[in-house]
């Protein structure tokens, strides 16, 4: 249930980002978050956590939109780059285990969608 910890982090980050806007924004419609596939997040649980934890905050009523980021890697032995078939962390060309993940560990607040009744600037 790390979804609740992460949901809490999203809510707190969103509130801080809204407060940093130069002009007060219109209502918050949605929040976009990138989640790497390695993070083992259950999307429905995270959405539920966000909706529960954002009640009575400036983020209340907004929708959490998740973007899944696939696991991409590079092989330091042969230079191959490509998608991994998790849970196998082996090079797609030479089968070496000498690989580095390029994507798939993301946990990032990407954007806020606000109603355009003012001139919100970031």
């Amino acid at each position: 249930m790390h979804e609740f910890s992460i949901g809490d982090s999203i809510v707190r980050s969103v509130i801080e980002e809204l407060a940093r806007l130069k002009t007060p924004p219109g209502a918050l419609r949605s929040v976009r978050v990138a989640i790497g596939v390695m993070r083992q997040i259950v999307p429905d649980t995270l959405v539920f956590a966000y909706e529960s934890l954002s009640q009575d905050t400036p983020a209340a009523g907004s929708k959490l939109v998740l973007r899944a980021v696939p696991v991409m890697a590079r092989c330091t032995a042969c230079g191959w780059q490509g998608a991994l078939e998790v849970p196998l962390f082996l090079c797609g060309a030479c089968q070496s285990g000498e690989i580095e993940l390029m994507t798939g560990m993301e946990l990032q607040l990407e954007s806020l969608e606000v109603e355009d009744d003012g001139h919100a600037e970031h």
Binding site: M1, H2, F4, S5, I6, S9, I10, R12, S13, E17, L21, P25, G26, R29, V33, M38, R39, Q40, V86, P87, L88, F89, L90, S96, G97, E98, I99, L107, Q108, L109, E110, S111, L112, E113, V114, E115, D116, D117, A120, H122
Partner: protein, 217 residues
């Protein structure tokens, strides 16, 4: 009504990372090594700590931070070894976060200590997500759990710097395929050491503690 998109790009682990970095600073100042034991409930984490502390003795003086959802039973077991121990109760959370660990670290004696062993909450998923400032996450897997766990919990085995396979004295009674298990571990994380230990016979413990001694450098 028209809407506008405001780009943010903010790391959601940023707050946790800040505390983990603060812990790394304290560990460096005090010349301490810190490991984070992660495994399912009943995998033998507390028993591994008991036998590790006994094996290390005065060569590498250990303190323990015990993460549990409830009760101080594990801390009481460790206290019987006469080493510093602090119980971290998460009150329902399934993992330890960096801030709680940092505060507990500051409460440990600042001298006559070489190693901090953190026992995370029994769980193979969530604890693997959180950096607590440790030198190494250690996956603790018992031979009674099934050899395919590395494939089912790849993040843990990918993040771990070593695997301790516990309860190996039970192997003659089980259909646990040791070679397959090691193969799965290395498919997820090529080349990481796998220490096969038994707390009954102390078999394999010396190799594990030698590896720990080298951690601080």
């Amino acid at each position: 009504m028209a809407t506008q998109n405001i780009k943010v790009y903010r790391d959601l682990m940023g707050e946790n990372e800040k505390w983990a970095a603060a812990t790394r600073t304290v560990l460096a100042e005090r010349r301490l090594a810190m490991i984070n034991l992660i495994g399912s409930p009943g995998s033998g984490k507390t028993t591994l700590i008991e036998s590790t502390a006994r094996q290390l003795g005065a060569r590498f003086r250990a303190a323990v931070l015990e993460g549990d959802v409830e009760t101080t039973r594990d801390a009481e077991r460790i206290a019987a070894l006469h080493i510093p121990v602090s119980q971290l109760l998460t009150g329902g959370a399934c993992h330890l976060e960096a801030k709680l660990v940092h505060e507990a670290l500051l409460d440990l004696p600042s001298e006559n200590l070489d190693l901090v062993i953190v026992e995370n909450v029994g769980n193979m998923v969530c604890p693997a997500e959180f950096d607590i400032g440790e030198h190494a996450k250690i996956a603790v897997l018992s031979v009674t759990e099934g050899e395919d766990k590395p494939l089912k919990y790849p993040l843990l085995f990918r993040e771990a710097r070593a695997v301790v396979l516990t309860k190996t004295d039970l192997l003659p009674h089980l259909r646990f395929d040791l070679a397959a298990c090691e193969g799965f571990i290395h498919q997820v994380n090529a080349g990481i050491p796998v220490f096969k230990v038994s707390a009954q016979s102390d078999e394999g413990l010396a190799a594990w503690t030698d590896w720990l001694l080298a951690l601080r450098g």
